[in-house]
C-alpha cells in the first residue's frame, strides 16, 4: 500500500463527534495536567531546584493525550526524550514524575534517569530516550517479541521529525515492514530539531512521505486536535493489530517553549510563535467541548482546580522527598569489585 495523502480531520468540522462526555473531560484534564505540571517544573528549574536539561512539551499535549486514549493499557509505548507528557497521559502519578525531575529517590527511576528517561514498565512505558532515533530499533524488537509470543499488543513509538534522518529510523521501520510487525510510529512534527528548521536539513520535509520507502500506510494529521489524533491513532493501531503491519502518523504540532531551558530562540520569529499559540490544543479542545455541549463550563473549572491541587501536591512531594543514597549507584548495574 502506498503512503496515503494527508487527511486533516479536525474536531471543529466533524459533525458527529465520536467521544463521550467522560472522555472529553478526561482528555481536557490530562492536557491541562501536562501543561500545568510543566509550567511548575519550569518555575522550579528557574529556582535551581531542578537541574540538568529540561525539555518542555507545552503546545504538543494533544498528541500524547490523543494517542494514549487510542491505545490499550497493555500496548507498548516507547518515546523520545521530550517525554513528560507521555507518562502523564499514560496515567503515571504526577508526583513520581516531578520527583524524578528533582532527582529524588522517590522518582520514577529513583533519580537516576531524570527528565529525559521516564520509564514505567508496569504501564508498558519502556522509557524516554535521549539518543535521537536510538529507540526506534528497540520498538522493532518490542514488536517482534509481541509477534513471537502471539500477544495482541501494538507498539507505539514516538519521536520528533528530527529523528527521521538518522539510520536507525530507516533500519527500524524497514524490518518492521518486512516482518509486518504491529508497530505505529508517531512522529511529532514540531518543525524544529533544536534550532534547525526541518526543511533545511531534510530532502523530504513531509515526514509521512518517507513511509513510501517501507511501503507502509501513513497519514499526516493535525496534531493540535486531540480528537483527530485519537481517531488517527485508533485507526492505525487497530489496522496494525489486525495484521496490517507497521504504520506511520505525522502529527503536525509546535512547541511553544524553547528547545530546552535557556534557548533564546533566534531561529524563529515571535510572530510565528504567536501564530502557533493561536492553535493552542487545550484552548481548542475546551471550545469544542463547550460548543458541542459535551460538558459544562463548571465541569472544566472543577477540573482546573483539581489539576492545580494535584500539581501542587506533586511539587510538595518532590521537595520533601529524600535524595537518593550513593549506594544506589551500584544497584541496577553490574559493577566490578
Amino acid at each position: 500500500m502506498a503512503a496515503t495523502s494527508p487527511s486533516r480531520v479536525s474536531a471543529s468540522d466533524t459533525a458527529g463527534i465520536d467521544v463521550t462526555g467522560a472522555e472529553a473531560l478526561d482528555w481536557f484534564k490530562k492536557m491541562s495536567l501536562i501543561r500545568r505540571f510543566e509550567e511548575r517544573a519550569e518555575e522550579a528549574y528557574g529556582q535551581g531546584k531542578i537541574g540538568g536539561f529540561l525539555h518542555l512539551y507545552i503546545g504538543e499535549e494533544a498528541v500524547a493525550v490523543g494517542a494514549m486514549a487510542a491505545l490499550r493499557p497493555d500496548d507498548d509505548v516507547i518515546t523520545h526524550y521530550r517525554d513528560h507528557g507521555y507518562v502523564l497521559a499514560r496515567g503515571v502519578e504526577p508526583k513520581r514524575v516531578m520527583a524524578e525531575l528533582y532527582g529524588k529517590a522517590t522518582g520514577l527511576s529513583k533519580g537516576k534517569g531524570g527528565s529525559m528517561h521516564m520509564a514505567d514498565v508496569k504501564r508498558h512505558v519502556w522509557g524516554g530516550y535521549a539518543i535521537v532515533g536510538g529507540h526506534i530499533p528497540l520498538a522493532t524488537g518490542l514488536a517482534l517479541a509481541n509477534q513471537y509470543r502471539k500477544l495482541p499488543h501494538v507498539v507505539a513509538c514516538f519521536f520528533g521529525e528530527g529523528a527521521t534522518n538518522i539510520g536507525t529510523f530507516f533500519a527500524g521501520l524497514n524490518l518492521a515492514a518486512v516482518w509486518k510487525l504491529a508497530l505505529v510510529a508517531i512522529v511529532e512534527n514540531n518543525r524544529y530539531g533544536m534550532g534547525t528548521a526541518f526543511e533545511r536539513v531534510s530532502a523530504v520535509s513531509d515526514v509521512y512521505k518517507k513511509a513510501c520507502a517501507f511501503d507502509i500506510p501513513a497519514e499526516q494529521i493535525d496534531g493540535n486536535d486531540v480528537l483527530a489524533v485519537r481517531d488517527a491513532v485508533h485507526r492505525m493501531v487497530e489496522r496494525s493489530r489486525a495484521g496490517g503491519g507497521p504504520q506511520l502518523i505525522e502529527a503536525m504540532t509546535y512547541r511553544f517553549r524553547g528547545h530546552s531551558m535557556g534557548d533564546p530562540q533566534r531561529y524563529r520569529t515571535k510572530e510565528e510563535v504567536e501564530e502557533a499559540k493561536a492553535r493552542d490544543p487545550i484552548v481548542r479542545w475546551r471550545r469544542t467541548v463547550l460548543t458541542s455541549g459535551l460538558a459544562a463550563k463548571t465541569d472544566l473549572e472543577k477540573i482546573r482546580d483539581e489539576v492545580e491541587a494535584e500539581v501542587e501536591e506533586a511539587v510538595r512531594f518532590a521537595e520533601n522527598s529524600p535524595a537518593p543514597d550513593p549506594s544506589e549507584l551500584c544497584s541496577d548495574v553490574l559493577v566490578s569489585e
Partner: protein
C-alpha cells in the same frame, strides 16, 4: 587577552577557517544557532553556509561526510553536539577514518577533527556526561587530545585542524565558562603529542588531563607543606607522551593517575601498566588511580558528585601514596 575556554575554541576555528579556505565545519546547529554551547558562534556570518554546514541529526553522516571531504584534500571539523553521540558515528571513525591512510597504502590521508563537549558536572545525566576517550584509545590511526586550559584549547585545536590524521578533540563542558585566562594575541600552536609539566616536584608524579587538572593543581598547592608533587597534564592522550611520564616517574619514584573517565578499562590502566613494565626498579610505592566510579552517571546531584573524582578523593590518594 582574557578568554574563556570556549572562546579559545571559537577563536581557533575562526583563525583556521580564515587561514585556510579548505577548512569547513559540519554539525547539528553549528550555523544559525551558533552551536548548542555557542562554540561555533559567528562562523556562519563570517564564512557562509557553504563552509559552516548545518546537518541533520545523523552523526555517522557528519563524520562520514567529513571523511569524504578529507579524501579530496579538504579539512573537516565534525562537531558532535555532545560527545556522547560520538557513539552514533563510531563506525565512521573507527573503521573509515582511522584506517584510511593505512588502507590506501599512504595514498590519501584523513584530516578531520571530531570535536565536542565531554564530561560530567552539569547534571546532564546518562547521555550528556560521558568521557569516551577509552573507546578510541584502542584504535591505531587516531589521535586524541583533551585540553585543560584556554591556551591549550586554542593551540591544540589549531594543531588538530592542521594535522593530516583524524583527531578526536575532547572539550570539557564544565570548563567552558569556568576557565578564563590570559592568552597571547598572536598566532600559537600547541603541538599534539606533548604533555605539559604543570608543576615540578620531588615526592610523587600525578599524571592527569582535562577537568581534573585543576583539582590536582589545587591539591598540589594546598598540600605543599606535606608533599612536593609533580603534575603532568597529558594534553594529548594518543599518542601518549611517554618520555615526559618516564622522566618524571624515574625521578619521583611514585605515580598517581587521575582522570574523570571511569577507572575500569580507562587510560590510567594503560599508563600504570607501562610504568610497571618499564620503571619497576624506580618505584617506591604502588601505582594508584583516581577516576570516576565504575557505574553510569546519574542525574541526581548528590549521586553525580559521588561518582566523579572530587578534591577529597584526590587528596586521599596523594596522602596514601605519600605514606610509602
Amino acid at each position: 587577552m582574557q578568554v574563556t575556554y570556549i572562546q579559545a575554541i571559537n577563536q581557533a576555528m575562526h583563525e583556521e577557517m580564515a587561514r585556510d579556505e579548505n577548512v569547513l565545519i559540519l554539525g547539528e546547529d553549528v550555523g544559525i544557532l551558533g552551536g548548542a554551547f555557542k562554540a561555533t558562534e559567528g562562523l556562519l556570518e563570517k564564512f557562509g553556509s557553504e563552509r559552516v554546514v548545518d546537518t541533520p541529526i545523523a552523526e555517522s553522516l557528519i563524520v562520514g561526510a567529513g571523511v569524504g571531504l578529507a579524501i579530496q584534500g579538504m579539512r573537516a571539523i565534525c562537531e558532535m553536539q555532545f560527545i556522547d553521540f560520538i557513539s552514533c558515528g563510531f563506525d565512521q571513525i573507527v573503521n573509515m577514518a582511522a584506517t584510511l591512510r593505512y588502507r590506501h597504502g599512504g595514498q590519501a590521508s584523513c584530516p578531520i577533527v571530531v570535536r565536542g563537549p565531554c564530561g560530567a558536572g552539569v547534571h546532564g545525566g546518562i547521555y550528556h556526561s560521558q568521557n569516551p576517550e577509552a573507546w578510541f584509545f584502542h584504535i591505531p590511526g587516531l589521535k586524541i587530545v583533551a585540553p585543560a586550559t584556554a591556551y591549550d584549547a586554542k593551540g591544540l585545536l589549531k594543531a588538530a585542524i592542521r594535522d593530516d590524521d583524524p583527531v578526536i578533540y575532547l572539550e570539557h563542558k564544565f570548563l567552558y565558562r569556568r576557565i578564563k585566562e590570559e592568552i597571547p594575541e598572536g598566532e600559537f600552536i600547541v603541538p599534539i603529542g606533548k604533555a605539559a609539566l604543570r608543576k615540578e616536584g620531588r615526592d610523587m608524579t600525578v599524571i592527569t588531563y582535562g577537568s581534573p587538572v585543576h583539582a590536582v593543581m589545587k591539591a598540589a598547592k594546598d598540600m605543599a607543606s606535606e608533599v612536593d608533587i609533580e603534575v603532568i597534564d597529558l594534553r594529548t592522550l594518543l599518542p601518549l607522551d611517554w618520555k615526559t611520564i618516564r622522566t618524571s616517574v624515574t625521578k619521583t619514584g611514585k605515580a598517581l593517575i587521575v582522570h574523570e573517565a571511569r577507572r575500569n578499562g580507562g587510560i590510567g590502566g594503560e599508563i600504570a601498566a607501562r610504568i610497571a613494565e618499564e620503571l619497576f626498579d624506580f618505584l617506591d610505592g604502588p601505582i594508584l588511580r583516581v577516576a570516576s566510579r565504575d557505574t553510569h552517571n546519574a542525574f541526581a546531584t548528590p549521586l553525580e558528585e559521588y561518582i566523579i573524582p572530587n578534591q577529597e578523593r584526590i587528596t586521599e590518594a596523594i596522602r596514601k601514596l605519600a605514606s610509602y
